[in-house]
Structure formats: structure tokens, C-alpha cells
Symmetry: C2
Subunit: 442 residues, 2 copies
């Protein structure tokens, strides 16, 4: 592996700023790594090496002119192929959108470019960011799924093809592929990153998320992307969150973690239970098992009702003009979604503030919730795995991060998920940093 | 009529600040006026004269101590009985809520009290702010409706019982009673006034509105009530709108008015058409007839779908525990609402930004839209009148004001409605001031 492929974004951006690395060299190293690993991993839906190299040369030329550099100047980033790019196709993982060329960059892509990033290419998504798998395979074992729906982004980062990638989560599409691929996957609070220019499935649930190989990189990318945008109706107006600075600052006290088994805990496999039980023992007094009262399996039903009703409304053109070319599972989802009563949909939405209140009771007493990211390591390639461990937190719009700190009995990555209070995204990363250091030094 | 009953809020607040009037005297004059007119008008659902007088005495005592005074110090205000008051019952116009005593003031009531207002009493609403009339009669003719659903608020202001009153609009419940009763009725842009503590019918449509006998009073009250509140999920974060100052400032140029006949224009009666045709002729070049392309009767269907679906979800307890004590019309509405598909509801919501875009095309070229507030003067007491002239503007969340500047052939008030751009509330009042002066001097 050439040196550039091992760099984190933070290291590489510093090296570019210092003049000890060119963006061109870094992108060439990433392309070389892709050349080695792509035949097995298949993370990319669109990649034009010449266009990536041109962007890198332009970034280097900007630096050579002595211009001020953005925080991601020259850093290659992969972008999930449901996120619009004006200079590359965006095909949303469906043949119905084959050849689609957006006119404009999505808001997040515009922010990446403004920060100096090189958009390396478009990563594979499942069909319309739902359940039908794309071509990507798990970099740790090609017979296993990388998880979905942000399959290519997680796999590309895990395989060392790119230091950073963007994805989206409507159920578990960040935390699950991050867990299966053994990278960091961060889903911020709902409403912090604008979604304009991204395939809409569910306004209530869709959230942009990030993949990286370290917490510093997660903080750097989050700080670049988070911010108000009036074109997203759920965008929150709030002061800029200083992620990078917060992560450099030690927490005033060791965080207290609430070990929460939700109603889907029963789905975890035996090696996961063993790994989590050891983890909690290792954390000792810093971690306390907590029951979240009032959270029943009804929360998962609410999520499905909201997601399927909103998906049916958003994918109406696909249904009307080509549903026979959608996967059977997506056709069934849309057919169900079209029959949901507004009454049941709105009743499900009214459950959300009640669930947030229940979880907030815990987060008032603890710094973060510690919980599995998946029910085990990556299953075989024919599915993208059970999303149930992301559902509750996505429904509540809470920030969640999957940390690659555990291994399963099969020695594949096992994700550990930390969940924070809504808007407490920077504090969540601080707790994650503490946990990571605690486990490394233990 | 005693002098206090004729005062505007602006005049009275100035007199109190100057020491030439006491709040007690003003409230006594209002109570005397209520004594004269209430047997015929029946505007009040709850009125405790002693409690009103106590509040007035407390306001006078505050002033006597030399404390700083709020903008509504000592001003009596009527509050629609779907708006919670911690010191008075709030029964929402239904026997199902008889004896209901809220624990907390609604956000708008808290703002009124913080501004120094005296909450005079609770005004009659139709059943759950929908269509079944309450006991209130039109102050100009007791055989006619005052309009609904903010019946008591409009009638109380029109009858000189109180200078200011609060209402709400989900379809036409501010502009219609204002038009029928011959007062100013202002529905600001959706999201400017917080709705916490108010009976929720439809989050997408519910808007707090104001009644007064002059534009200065509308500006004074709007400036007091408008402002962000995190407890209303649709609250807009924006700088304070200086209504009072804007209204004192002459517009830089004479506003240009777009005379818009929507698809419901055909419902207007012949005297209304004649009055509007004369008005437009009188305005000459300041007013131009404009067709709003893309606005079809589908907008009215969208409104009904959204309103009835959201009402069914919000009034679920009333349906489950006492629907037989609701009016047949409300029972039918709720039964329809419960059967609406989420798909149709969400499709209706997606029409809204498109309609706003159509109307915004006009409002980019004109200062305001001029259009009828109702299809004619107040009809007989057995209905609250046709709401169709409020529907489109409520659906689009645009600010609208009904101005009592016309009379029908029966010499009853006929409302003229001005509609502004979303967020252009202060400019709308400025256009209204210009129009009022133009018609008075013509």
C-alpha cells in the first residue's frame, strides 16, 4: 500500500498545508489502492481517475498561489451515489435513474468543495438507499456484506481507498456498514447537516452521515458539513459546533455511560453478548446498565410506518413510471406505504417526542448511551444485515456513532454504538474519544 | 358608551403611560360596555369582572411604583377560548372539555402578561375551532353570524367591549369574522407566533391571529406576540419585526397591488363584485388584475386533505371518548380524516411549496395581493359563512389581513383582504395603511 492510502484526512490536510504532500500525490496513492482492492471490494459506482487528478492538480495550484486553504484542502472524499454532484452522474442505485446527471451539487458537496476537498468519485448505494444490496463486498471478507445502504462509502474507507466518505441514514445505513466494515460511522443529530440535493426517502428520518478511520477525521468532516441551510426545511439554526477543538479538549470529568439494552437486544448473537459483557466489566463503574422505560417494540413499528409512508410519497414517480424495474422488496415496501392511513402515520409521529423524552431522561444523567451497533458481525452477502439497532436512535433524531473497537468470534469487526443527546454531537465525540483511549490503555 | 370603550389600545396604553388614564378605569369602561351589549352579542365564554379588575389594579400599582412599563401595560385583551389561561377555564368550545382548567398559560398569553396586558376574559369559539357555531351574534345585526371560528373575539372588538383580542385561523377563522364584524383581522405568516398551549387542529395550518379596530393596534399587538419559541416546532428563527415603527414610516413608493381572483371568485355575490369593481376603478393604476397561474381548485382539496387528516390525529381522544357529543359535522369531518391515506396527505403537503412558488411570482412584482375576505356580508346565524377566501393563503402560510373598508348593499361590513409575501408581514401592514389612507382621502 502506498503511503497516501494510509493517511487520515487530518494528517494529510496538515501535510498539504505544510507543503510536505501534494493533493496529486495523495489522490494518486488512493487511485493505486483502488486499483488493487476494487476488483474484490467494488465500492465505486462512478470513478473517473482523470477528473479526480484534475481536481487535485487544481487544489495544488491554489496552494502554490499562496491562497488561504480550507480545512479539507486537497483531501479526497467519496460521496454516496444518492448525493448529487454536478460533475458526475448520480444514479441513486436504480436502473430507473441510469444516466442521471444533476444540474447542481448537493449542499454537502458544495460545502466539501468550498472546504477544498477533492470529490474522488461516487460510492455504491443499495437500491434507492433501501434494502436491495449493490455490488459492494466487505473488505474483510468478500463473502460478507459491507452493510447498507451506504455500502460503498463504508467499504472504501475501510479498504484504504479514501480517508473520508459521505453516506446517509434513514434507519441504520451509517452505523451498520461502519460496524460491519470496521470504521467510524457518525450520524449527527437530525437537522444539523442539510439534505438538499440528496435523494429524499423520509424527511422525518433521512440524515447525512460520515465515515472515517479515526475520530479526529470525523470531527474535521462534521465541522465542515454542519450548519444551517434554509433549503432544508428541518435545518436547525444554531451556533457552529467546534468539533475539532472539543475533541482536543479533555472532558472535565470521565464520562458516565448508560449501558442500554433496547427491546431488540434479544436479536444479538452469543459472541456479541459475550463481547459486550466483557466490555462492560472492563469499564467498571464508568458504565451502568439502565432500563429505558416506555420504550417498547412499538418504536420500531412507528419507524416503519413513518418511513414507508414517506417513501411512498417521495418515490411516486418511480412507482408510476417503472415499478416493475424495482426490486420485489422495494415494490412491496412502496405498496405497503401507499396504503398506510394518515391517521396512523401522524399518530406514529406523535410518539417521537414521547420517545425522545424517555431517552432524554437517561441522557440527563449520563453522558452517552452505550449499545450495540448491530446484532453481530457482517452476515453473508445476500442481505445488508439487520438494521434494528439503528432504528430507535434515528427515529429520535439523536446523534449516534459506531466505533470499531470490538471483534467478533470470527475476528471480523463488531460495532459498538454510542448515542448522545439531541444537539450534543460534540460532547458525544468527546465521550467516544474517552472510551477509545480507555479501551486502548486497558 | 363610556370613553374607555372607544379607545384604541395604542391610545389607551399611551394615556396609561402618561398617567391620564388608569387601567382600572379602562377595564371598568369595558365591563360597562359588555354589560350593555353582551345580552345581544354574547361574545364571552368566561368573564370574571372581579378578576379583571384585580389585574387592572395590579397594573396600576406597578405603574405607581415607577416600574418600567411593557408596551401593553394595563391594556385589556380578549382571548379565544381555545388558548390556555392558567387563571381561567379553557373549554375549547366543546362540552367534552367543560370545566377544563389548564395548568399553564399558552405562550401568547404569557407574552401578553409580560407586556403588561390585562386578560379580560375568554371569548366564544365555535366547537373545537371548527364549523359548528357558538352562541355569539353579529354586533351589527343579531340575526347574522359573526363568522367563525374566532367568533367572540371579532364580535367583542367590533362591539367596543375590548380593544384587542386573540384568535386563530386554520382556514379563514381570522379574516372571515373580521370581515363580517367590520374590524381589522390579521393572520401573520405561519410560524411567527408560537402556538404552544393552544388547541391543536392542524400543525401545518394553525396560525394565531389578532383583532383590533385600527392598524396601529394590529402592529402593536403583533410586535408583542411575534417571536421565536422553541416549544412550537414550526417557529421561525428571525429578527424581531418592527411593526410599529414600520407603520409610522411612509412606504418609499406607493405600493402596487395585484387584484387576484382565485378559483373561488365565482362564489362572490353580486354586491361584492360591484363593490370590488368600484374599488379597483378608484385605485386606478395602483391596482392591476393578475391571474395566478397554476392555482386550481386542487389547492382547496389539498387544504381539506391536510386539515382533516391532521384534525383526526389531534382530536383522537375526543373521538375515542365522546364523539357522540360532538356535532354531526365535526363527527363527519373526523370520520373522513381518519380514512385519508398518508400517501394523499403527503402528496397534498408537497403541493404547498409549488403553490407558494406560484403566488411568490406575483408577490415579486407587487407589494400585496388584493382579494375578497369573504363572498359577501355576514349570512344568517345558522352557519359561520363560507371560509373559501381564506383557504389558499392559509395553506401557503402567507400573511393576510382583513380591512373593514367596504360595505355591502345591506350596509353591513364587507371585508377586503390584503395578502403579502411569507415573512413580509410588516410590509403588508404598510401596504394596508397606504390603502386605507388612499380610500379615506379619495
Amino acid at each position: 500500500m502506498r503511503p497516501g492510502a494510509a493517511l487520515t484526512a487530518t494528517q494529510g490536510a496538515q501535510a498539504i498545508a505544510a507543503g510536505s504532500l501534494s493533493s496529486l500525490q495523495w489522490v494518486e496513492d488512493c487511485l493505486a489502492r483502488i486499483g488493487e482492492r476494487e476488483p474484490s471490494v467494488q465500492a465505486w459506482h462512478f470513478l473517473d481517475p482523470q477528473h479526480a487528478l484534475e481536481q487535485a492538480r487544481a487544489r495544488d495550484a491554489t496552494r502554490a498561489r499562496g491562497n488561504a486553504l480550507g480545512p479539507l484542502h486537497g483531501v479526497p472524499v467519496g460521496v454516496k451515489d444518492i448525493i448529487d454532484t454536478a460533475d458526475m452522474p448520480t444514479e441513486n442505485g436504480t436502473v430507473l435513474h441510469a444516466g442521471r446527471r444533476p444540474q447542481h451539487d448537493a449542499a454537502v458537496v458544495a460545502r466539501l468543495r468550498a472546504a477544498g476537498a477533492v470529490i474522488l468519485g461516487k460510492t455504491v448505494t443499495t437500491e434507492c438507499a433501501t434494502y436491495a444490496p449493490g455490488k459492494t463486498r466487505n473488505p474483510h471478507d468478500p463473502t460478507r456484506t459491507p452493510g447498507g445502504s451506504s455500502s460503498g462509502s463504508a467499504a472504501a474507507v475501510a479498504a484504504g481507498m479514501v480517508p473520508l466518505a459521505l453516506g446517509t441514514q434513514t434507519n441504520a445505513s451509517i452505523v451498520r456498514p461502519a460496524a460491519f466494515c470496521g470504521v467510524y460511522g457518525f450520524k449527527p443529530s437530525h437537522g444539523l447537516i442539510p439534505r438538499s440535493g440528496i435523494l429524499a426517502l423520509s424527511r422525518s428520518l433521512d440524515t447525512v452521515g460520515l465515515f472515517a478511520r479515526g475520530l479526529d477525521d470525523i470531527a474535521l468532516l462534521a465541522e465542515t458539513l454542519i450548519g444551517f441551510d434554509a433549503t432544508d426545511p428541518d435545518a436547525q439554526t444554531r451556533a457552529r459546533l467546534p468539533f475539532v477543538q472539543t475533541l482536543r479538549t479533555e472532558a472535565p470529568a470521565a464520562p458516565r455511560l448508560a449501558w442500554v439494552k433496547t427491546p431488540v437486544w434479544a436479536r444479538t448473537d452469543a459472541p456479541s453478548r459475550e463481547a459486550f459483557s466483557q466490555l462492560c466489566a472492563q469499564l467498571g463503574g464508568a458504565c451502568e446498565e439502565v432500563i429505558v422505560h416506555g420504550v417498547t417494540t412499538a418504536a420500531w413499528d412507528c419507524h416503519r410506518t413513518i418511513m414507508e409512508a414517506e417513501m411512498a410519497a417521495n418515490l411516486v414517480a418511480e412507482w408510476e413510471h417503472g415499478r416493475e424495474r424495482l426490486s420485489p422488496s422495494l415494490q412491496e415496501q412502496l405498496a405497503r406505504g401507499r396504503e398506510i392511513r394518515a391517521f396512523d402515520y401522524l399518530q406514529a409521529l406523535t410518539q417521537v417526542p414521547r420517545l425522545i423524552a424517555r431517552v432524554s431522561d437517561v441522557l440527563a444523567r449520563f453522558d452517552a448511551i452505550l449499545t450495540p451497533a448491530t446484532c453481530g458481525t457482517a452476515p453473508p452477502i445476500d442481505s445488508t444485515g439487520d438494521p434494528a439497532f439503528g432504528t430507535l436512535w434515528t427515529l429520535c433524531g439523536l446523534p449516534a456513532i459506531s466505533l470499531p473497537l470490538l471483534r467478533g468470534a470470527d475476528s471480523l469487526p463488531l460495532g459498538l454504538q454510542l448515542v448522545g443527546a439531541r444537539g450534543g454531537d460534540a460532547r458525544l465525540l468527546q465521550s467516544a474519544r474517552w472510551l477509545e483511549e480507555r479501551l486502548h490503555t486497558a
